[in-house]
């Protein structure tokens, strides 16, 4: 996948992803401050707009950085900044590469997860986006190639979302709820799962063939 193909894939994915904004906003209303829906909808639209302005010969790193900057500025929030930092960390792994291989996707996913872990001082089990991200990044490493990779990542992220429901939030505003957070579904982890599902829905061969 080259930079232009990546840009097209992200744009298609974000259109589908935006359909989940209300669900994410509702989850965040219960557990956080409720602005995740806005962060997602404004951020996704800003990223799409930014990508449409990029030249077709842009490198994958430039595509990711355009998304990061647009997302961070669209609705400045802690979540937006964490995601932008994660994309930045991932893009450092890609450097000047022209073509993204499965290996490079794996190292990107791991670097992005580690960025959020380090910036957010959080680990798997704290009931954050990392509960979906790290398992998905690990699942990718187990499968060298093919469409099964994305399926495995989605499955791992979904397990993370379900398992973390029963955990107590330890980071961010959600941690103020203490044991009342148990049983509620984490909006960050859910957002990551929905992103992967959107990618599949928007970019799987069947859908592309129809559209």
């Amino acid at each position: 996948m080259n930079g232009n193909e990546l840009s097209q894939a992200i744009q298609k994915c974000l259109v589908v992803f935006t359909e989940h904004a209300d669900e994410l906003g509702d989850l965040d209303q219960a557990l956080g401050d409720g602005d995740l829906g806005i962060t997602v909808s404004l951020g996704a639209q800003a990223a799409i707009d930014a990508l449409q302005l990029l030249p077709a010969e842009s490198k994958p790193t430039e595509v990711v950085l355009a998304c990061a900057k647009a997302f961070a500025n669209a609705n400045p929030s802690t979540m937006a900044a964490l995601v932008a930092g994660a994309l930045l960390a991932g893009s450092r792994v890609w450097a000047d590469t022209e073509t993204i291989t499965p290996d490079l996707v794996n190292t990107f996913a791991m670097a992005a997860s580690e960025s959020i872990s380090q910036r957010g001082k959080s680990q798997v089990g704290d009931k954050t986006i990392l509960d979906a991200m790290f398992p998905a990044a690990e699942a990718l490493r187990d499968i060298p190639s093919g469409p099964e990779r994305l399926d495995a990542a989605i499955e791992a992220a979904e397990r993370g979302v379900i398992t973390s429901k029963e955990l107590q939030s330890r980071r961010g505003r959600a941690s103020w709820l203490q044991d009342r957070s148990i049983g509620l579904q984490d909006p960050g982890a859910t957002a990551f799962l929905r992103f992967l599902q959107s990618w599949k829905a928007a970019n799987s061969p069947a859908r592309t063939a129809v559209s």
């Binding site: 900057k69 802690t78 900044a81 930092g85 930045l88």
Partner: protein, 333 residues
């Protein structure tokens, strides 16, 4: 709670507005958000920008040290709460003169979190940043964990020296190295006598009996290392200075800068009584006070108490302290 305030929620915005109205030739708000203040001539082309920030309630920290020869901008949080990463980024963009920006602020979790996020966003904007944390409170961690210490009044020395280095045209790496050098040679310890009442909650920041003091207490009421019956000024100075000398390894023949800082409700007279004894102790050990500051440099609203900071000096550090500076709350001619 007796305070001269209006709506508690408006407290921060209203005193910031007052500062801007009082000092229009020195400070400005570059955008819509009054929680972002920069020096009036920012950005200074070709000069390294220095920004700081943190919770409100510590004046003259942090807003008071924005000016020529000091910091270039400040991101302002609510009382005892960090500013947002977006506000820090706004400040960064407003002071960037093309030579990069140093983040210089106290080591507190919320502030570190938001400043770190801002470093990423600044990088996306093409602005290079470096970070140096104030961590001079010797009571907050033992020496072997000095990098985890909290930052208190001693960060003033770092503002002064790094600000002077930036003003003379040092590079970002050099300015950061100056700030780091100062922090490494600065030690502070405080004593608390009575708490501050938070405007929004009406609650005290800590509890202390009428006849008690707490040595080593933090500026938000973080626990210290000794709580006991109130001692005399001389005894308090001895406790604090002994600990600082040990921590810095200061010896006969050394030169130091001394900062005796009031925490908000302690009168200048009492600070001078503390300085008197500090001077006697250091003189007795053959340590010279080459520069001194007595007054309110980092407060905790109306908390009663004081802190003493020592900076071990060499010629370079002293020259940077002596360089000119001008802000609403501090001037060196």
């Amino acid at each position: 709670m007796k305070k001269i305030i209006n709506e508690p929620q408006a407290f921060v915005d209203e005193f910031v507005e007052g500062i801007l109205l009082a000092h229009p030739t020195l400070l400005k708000a570059p955008g819509q958000d009054r929680r972002v203040l920069v020096r009036a001539d920012a950005p200074v082309a070709g000069k390294v920008g220095i920004i700081t920030g943190g919770g409100s309630g510590h004046l003259p920290l942090f807003k008071g040290y924005v000016g020529r020869g000091l910091c270039d901008g400040v991101a302002i949080g609510n009382v005892f709460s960090s500013p947002s990463s977006a506000q820090i980024l706004e400040t960064t963009k407003a002071v960037d003169g093309g030579a990069g920006v140093l983040y210089l602020y106290g080591n507190y979790g919320g502030d570190v979190f938001n400043f770190d996020l801002a470093t990423d966003m600044a990088e996306l904007e093409g602005i290079r940043t470096m970070t140096v944390l104030g961590r001079d409170d010797v009571a907050s961690q033992p020496k072997e964990r000095a990098t985890d210490r909290r930052g208190v009044a001693g960060i003033f020395f770092a503002y002064k020296a790094a600000g002077a280095a930036a003003e003379r045209g040092d590079s970002l790496d050099q300015v950061a190295a100056v700030a780091e050098d100062i922090i490494e040679h600065t030690a502070t310890m405080g004593v608390g006598l009575s708490p501050t009442i938070l405007p929004t909650t009406g609650k005290p920041s800590f509890e202390l009996a009428d006849d008690e003091m707490e040595i080593g207490i933090g500026i938000h009421g973080e626990p210290g290392i000794h709580r006991g019956t109130l001692e005399t000024a001389d005894e308090i100075a001895e406790h604090l200075v002994e600990r600082l000398i040990t921590d810095l390894g200061t010896a006969t023949g050394d030169r130091v800068a001394v900062l005796v800082n009031g925490l908000g409700a302690t009168p200048l007279e009492e600070l001078y009584v503390l300085f008197r004894r500090t001077h006697q102790i250091l003189e007795g050990k053959g340590i010279t006070i080459a520069k001194n500051y007595v007054g309110e440099y980092a407060t905790s609203l109306e908390m009663a108490g004081a802190s003493i900071s020592l900076l071990l000096l060499d010629d370079e550090r002293l020259a940077l302290l002596n360089a000119p500076a001008e802000s609403p709350f501090f001037r060196e001619v």
